[in-house]
Amino acid sequence: MSVKKVLHDLVIMKNEHLNKRHFVLELQAPEPLPKFLPGQFVQVLVKDSPSTFLRRPFSIHGFDPLKNTLRLLIQIKGEGTRHLSQVREGEKLNVLYPLGNSFTLPAGKNVLLVGGGCGVAPLLFLAMWLKEQDVKVTILTGWKRKEDIFEKDAYLQCGVVLMTTEDGSEGETGMVTNHSILKTKLSFDRIYCCGPDPMMKAIAKISKENNINCEVSLENTMACGFGVCLCCITPTHHGNQRVCVEGPVFSTKELGW
């Protein structure tokens, strides 16, 4: 049986703006939070935003069982996220959790994480979790320019950090999928990836060529987030699957990528 899902008003402890388009909300729960796993997500109700009808799904960026807090990394994309970017400490957000499956542990102890854009959201939590399990982590992230980069120090605490910027202002120049490490013979036990579909598909291809299992986290639009509306489906080898229940994490083999 899966963990019981709950709806709670969580208190906003921090609203930390990382750059013009990204912010992190730290939320504290009135009751002990379930043991979240990396890859899982929550659905946040956006109040007082007339054009935002449905909840907004966000993957868990950080989880601190001692402080009983979770962190969400959010990109401002539309009215709902713009509204959320303006919430203040002490206010409450109604959150539905825990939702979705999670990334899995590899057989070996050496993994690569690849993130692009807001796709880095679940990867910090994943990197920390993997480090706790004594897995050697290499994190490759792609950015537009140096000013956009955030939370580099947090990644550095988890393992080796590699970066690309489109303008070459930090790390290698170009897209994340063109990083030189991906052109070598890779010997990782697992590759984890989250970002735009074309990027994940490119990483899936590289994983396949190197005969490495790859897990990706999908971002399909959804209404409910708990498996009833059947809006977020993705075709897999087992037929249509719900990204919100059977996902959001899928092995690229299941997806036929």
């Binding site: 709806l7 109700l45 009808f53 639009t221 209404a223 987030g225 009833v228 509306c229 059947l230 977020c232």
Partner: protein
């Protein structure tokens, strides 16, 4: 039927009632008395169906009930209408299937389900003992398919009714065609009526010129109960990409955006048929539900609201009770068609 939730949540249920009024009745001795079912009768009978209260869930928004067990005491619902069942497995439409729109959403799921035999064998055993009316939404592309599914569901002892879905806008053949041409609506209803012995609900499409003609047509075919409305046919466009948002281009609009249309149609239908009506369309809270009853519905189905607040049906049940107490209504039956005009 007491008020079980914490004070914090309670405020939300009665958001339509001034706080001082809530304080008066919550603190008053009559409130204690009101906890006994004898005070306010929420139950209502539609055709042969005994509902504990008028609150049901709409097909396609409540799965098979199981998915809501963490949030809802199913035994406190008037009924649940489970996801549409068709003759054979249907994969449904391609992604994207959903677009958020002002005060609502468009969907084009396309009746994804594993077919009636799977339902009977794998799903029914798990849901048959729910302490509520479990109603099956029956869909098809041909009259033969509707009849075949209805015949099989007729054999299931614990299913007291079916809801004939002649109004899905998201399937290529049939579906909505049966719901937009009166003679076809009569024909499919009559064909199912012949094989289905329990309560037959027919769910109407709003995508018609005269909802009254459609209502009369299904009553002529033998419908015991009418439910309305299904989704309104709509469309969303991504201007940046110059593309439709949905894979199917068009889809069904639901949510509060459609409530005024639904209320109008329930009211119009109530003027021309004698069978009980189940009102559906954008119900988000108890006030919305009561509006449908005043317009002529004997019960309501809550749909899209479940996606946003999976606990919403419980709040609606409590809110209807609070409304009755506030307005000194002894039985919800008094609300049905109670519009003053």
């Amino acid at each position: 039927m007491g008020i079980r939730e914490s004070g914090n949540e309670r405020k939300y249920y009665y958001s339509h009632i001034p706080i001082f009024v809530i304080r008066i009745f919550i603190n008053s001795p009559t409130h204690q008395l009101a906890n006994s079912p004898a005070m306010i009768d929420l139950s209502i009978k539609i055709a042969h169906l005994n509902l504990k209260n008028p609150v049901m869930t709409a097909s396609g928004t409540f799965g098979y009930g199981e998915e809501y067990k963490d949030f809802v005491d199913l035994g406190r619902l008037g009924g649940i209408v489970v996801k549409a069942v068709t003759g054979n497995n249907r994969d449904g439409n391609a992604y994207p299937r959903m677009a958020e729109t002002p005060s609502g959403m468009l969907n084009s799921v396309g009746l994804q389900n594993k077919g009636v035999d799977y339902f009977v064998k794998e799903i029914y055993p798990g849901i048959k003992d729910f302490d509520t009316n479990v109603i099956v939404n029956v869909s098809g592309s041909t009259i033969e398919e509707y009849v075949a599914v209805a015949e099989k569901i007729n054999e299931l002892e614990k299913i007291p009714a079916i809801e004939l879905n002649i109004s899905c806008p998201n399937v290529k053949q049939g579906g909505m065609a049966f719901g937009t041409i009166p003679s076809m609506a009569t024909e499919v209803t009559a064909a199912v009526r012949k094989v289905y012995k329990k309560d037959l609900i027919v769910k109407l499409s709003p995508n018609v010129t005269s909802i009254q003609e459609m209502a009369k047509a299904v009553v002529d075919g033998g419908a015991d109960i009418i439910s309305l409305i299904n989704t309104l046919l709509g469309m969303a466009i991504n201007a940046d990409q110059r593309r439709p948002v949905l894979s199917t281009v068009t889809g069904g609009l639901s949510g509060p955006a459609i409530k005024p249309v639904a209320l109008r149609m329930v009211w119009q239908v109530s003027k021309v048929v004698k069978v009980p009506i189940i009102g559906i369309g954008g119900i988000m809270n108890a006030t919305d539900a009561i509006e449908f009853m005043l317009a002529g519905a004997s019960a309501v189905q809550v749909g899209t609201a479940n996606f946003i607040d999976p606990n919403v049906t419980m709040k609606i049940v409590d809110g209807i009770e609070a409304y009755c107490r506030l307005h000194k209504v002894g039985s919800v039956k008094e609300l049905v068609g109670g519009l003053i005009s």
